[in-house]
Symmetry: C2
Subunit: 549 residues, 2 copies
């Protein structure tokens, strides 16, 4: 197989006519030139066509370049789903730079860590998060230049950002005919996404242009998107670059309907008034929809496709969704694989099953995306695939072009994540006889609350800082609204016997983003293995029972 | 822009976990594992599911490997649209080798040239073309080993191939669990397609795995293919690998309905009985459908999508097609760009136009495929783009990942084709203000008859071999049935004054494939420029008038 190929390798090399780096940026140029008058972005009264969006992106890229931003520089964004963050997905890489979209729910110390670790030079901040941004940059030795997105009137945030350059004024300094270029190498970084991971410090996951191009196309193959879908942004664009959907929407010349806040009424209004056809979201978005009040509801003018991840949609929710006219596709992925890389690809014959069996099928994470090259459940020690018997547990492994470049400035974590030539997801599951995977247990420590990853170790570290705490272990507790909430099991020191659960919760609220704060704190000795390791599995079972009670 | 990227380039290299060569072969593995029971191939009574097709492809790949076939070796196929040629599209590259699918309408000398030039080691031959194959290999110094496809009873062909290895028996020597591997480099050749081009000898266009993967996905984006399309093979798979649709169908887990002969009745039967949703074809296929007799027709159970290329569909044909329930998408491409690389992407607002204006819009070749990186109409000398004024003629240029590796063993033609960093199509057209291109004149010399390219120079060369011929020029004459037919203008020598047109036609029939033979021969002096060059444009006008008469 490795012989010299001879004439097929001779004089048939790459040249500018037959090779171009893969990048999602060319989708934007195509959407603007082929469908210039189709709406690209709708946000309240604001509407931009694809030609307008392209011009705005070129302006922004040009303004960034004129500000000295170039290849390998980082531009951070702290904003909800508004047009500017959509534009940044194109404009930042068009300037050769790397987009770091930051979770708006992060606390200031984490934002500061990301800005410093990612070496952001420019920081585009929505006024609503002006206070958070200012607090984050206040202690940085080399704070980034702030561009203020004054889209809404937010007095406190505006006051914090007073004197900073206005986003629209910044765009005005740019050239709408800016001669941007595709990257010289498709392996060049396009974005940086911090994941809370299982250890304390966030890890910076680096995406490249090749992977972003491929996952953008992979989304169209995994989901029935059709011509000019109208996509509602219920999934934050700061999560894995909105699962690469900004780039997908450019490929299919679809319309992005932006939503600053995910609430039932604007969602039903957008579906009824703007013809929304597709939306993505964590299970909390599904709950929101089926539990909406009659006042907030509007009839669906057509079936709406919903893609969901993070936790399998329960049968009751699926049935309620379908009754309401939504059709749910279940996907699975991680920040490290650009968002969704596994899809529960539906078989027509499953339509005939009972609702319960249908939900059982749909609760499975499924099979690899077309653009993920390989997926397996294997023994984490030996990396030997487990039998496809629906029973033997193993770790989920993936490999292919939609696996990250690696973790920024973290060679050890990168090496570990890729050891043995596969990406180690840390998630545990089983393999069914038909090749569909099902996650049985998330990586031990992560709690997913309202679609946000919470590192239990991070919460534990805070608890350990309280003077009364002897030992602490934080696990997920099932929650009807949030999917999961953090539940802390704490052994107190003798000297701290008077401490109440409320005291620890108040302590945590001062030390971390509020969504990470344990909702319940249970005192008592922690179960341990013979070698002294805390048995989180037992604690998870206890937390589950708390729910049942 | 070229500064050192620093930490984004540091320790974030390719490795087996995050990089895989792009290849369409992984689509087959996915279709077989995700949708094992969906039909992959239907051919009369024969049906193979995707898992069966995958097993057959692994058998064939294994049998080829055991026969000594490996990287860079050529396997030629001479067959109509039967399951074996579909299987070869996967199995040959799974063995690391290069597929050369040969036009069954070629004459023996051309087949011999291709086999010799491409250095085919194995030659899979359908019995129907046994005589042609045997004649072609009879004079080769190193004839390939023949594998005989005895799918039908064809006494003459079977006699010619008597004693050769049978295809099914050959498969039986292979391992259905063969551990094939993706190519080590996505730039590796996957197929070889000879084009008649404008000069005498066919040129061997080499495709690579990367381009085949991308065009396969590009087809799904350009065309509304949905889930599990049922695709009818009216387009020969030996034309640009069936425009890469074998690989596309694996990506979408669709069903290939094979047809040995393109005739109206089996087409309507397949649509009515097998639920065909999509088909491709030259305009002759469209004519065949709308001119079908009542006896051959069946009502369409649903709208059927038709992709057509080679010549713009005339308004009358489009209207008739739509009336019959077909929906036509117009694409444009060349062998050098894997088939279609330009699509007349439809705008919803054009639905409101009159049938004539609609046809005018649809007659335009359109805009680049998503996977073609750039398209322009430019001055062929200066390569400066022409204005988008619908009037200024220029040459069509393309560049990107779906442009061939180059011409096999033909560095000069490769260099010419790619000069200036663009692929020179040789086609002339205009650019409309909305960015859609329209071909006004095909590359001067090519005649497209029934979807087949005929090189006028090749026909002229034969005519010149007749003792009575002084000068000959062959141009296209419009033809209602075939699109075009070759029309020869001939100046006779004094000594040949008694030669009749019929004599030259008979002479040609002995010397070339019958479809290339001029249907009309006109005697007289040839118009020339001041520098003595024959003015083919004037002859084309005369040929057009012949039709009007």
């Amino acid at each position: 197989m490795n012989r010299i190929a001879g004439h097929y390798d001779n004089g048939l090399d790459r040249n500018p006519a037959n090779y171009a780096p893969l990048t999602p940026l060319t989708f934007l140029e195509r959407a603007a030139s082929v469908h210039p008058n189709v709406w690209a972005v709708i946000h309240g009264e604001v509407r931009y066509s694809w030609s307008q969006t392209y011009a705005r992106c070129r302006r922004l890229a040009s303004a960034l370049a004129r500000s000295g931003i170039g290849r390998g520089d980082t531009v951070a964004v702290l904003a909800p789903n508004v047009p500017a963050i959509f534009e940044a997905h194109f404009a930042v890489p068009m300037a050769g730079a790397v987009l770091n979209a930051i979770n708006v729910r992060s606390d200031p110390a984490i934002v500061a860590f990301m800005l410093e670790h990612g070496e952001a030079k420019i920081f585009i901040v929505d006024t609503e998060f002006g206070v958070l941004a200012k607090e984050a940059v206040s202690n940085l030795r080399a704070p980034p230049r702030i561009i203020a997105l004054n889209e809404i009137v937010h007095p406190e945030g505006a006051a914090a950002l007073a004197g900073e350059q206005d986003y629209e004024a910044f765009l005005d300094t740019g050239d709408p005919a800016f001669a941007w270029r595709v990257p010289e190498d498709e392996w060049d970084a396009i974005s940086l996404n911090y994941t809370s991971g299982t250890t304390g410090h966030p890890k910076g996951v680096v995406y490249h242009h090749r992977g972003a191009h491929l996952l953008a196309l992979g989304n169209t193959l995994a989901w029935n998107m059709g011509r000019h879908p109208v996509y509602l942004w219920t999934l934050p664009m700061f999560h894995c670059n909105g699962w690469c959907f900004p780039w997908t929407l450019a490929a299919v010349a679809g319309t992005s309907v932006c939503l600053r806040k995910v609430e039932p009424k604007p969602i039903f209004d957008a579906i009824a008034d703007l013809g929304v056809t597709h939306l993505c979201g964590a299970p909390i978005v599904l709950s929101l929809l089926i539990n909406a009040s009659e006042a907030d509801r509007r009839p669906l003018p057509r079936r709406v496709e919903v893609m969901t991840a993070a936790a399998p949609p329960p049968a009751a929710i699926l049935q309620a969704m379908e009754k309401d006219g939504f059709h749910v596709t279940h996907v699975y992925g991680l920040t490290e694989v650009y968002g969704p890389a596994v899809v529960c690809s539906w078989h027509d014959e499953w339509d005939e099953l009972s609702p319960e069996l249908k939900a059982q099928k749909k609760a499975r994470q499924g099979v690899r995306y077309h653009v993920l090259d390989d997926l397996m459940i294997a023994d984490p020690e030996t990396m030997v695939p487990v039998p496809k018997d629906s029973e033997t547990m193993g770790e989920v492994f993936m490999r292919g072009n939609v696996v990250m470049k690696g973790y920024l400035k973290n060679p050890e974590a990168t090496r570990e994540a890729f050891s043995g030539g596969w990406f180690h997801t840390g998630d545990l599951g089983v393999w069914h006889p038909d090749g569909y995977i099902e996650i049985k247990d998330r990586s031990k420590d992560i709690i997913i609350s309202g679609g946000e990853n919470i590192s239990s170790i991070e919460v534990e570290n805070v608890l350990y800082r309280h003077p009364s705490v002897l030992e602490a272990a934080v696990v997920a507790r099932p929650d009807d609204k949030w999917g999961e909430t953090p539940c802390a099991f704490v052994a107190l020191k003798d000297a701290g016997k008077d401490t109440a659960p409320e005291d620890l919760i108040a302590f945590c609220r001062d030390e971390m983003a509020h969504y990470k704060v344990p909702k319940s704190v249970i005192f008592g000795p922690l179960p341990k293995t013979s070698t002294g390791k805390i048995q989180k599995r037992i604690l998870r079972d206890r937390a589950k029972q708390l729910r049942a009670e």
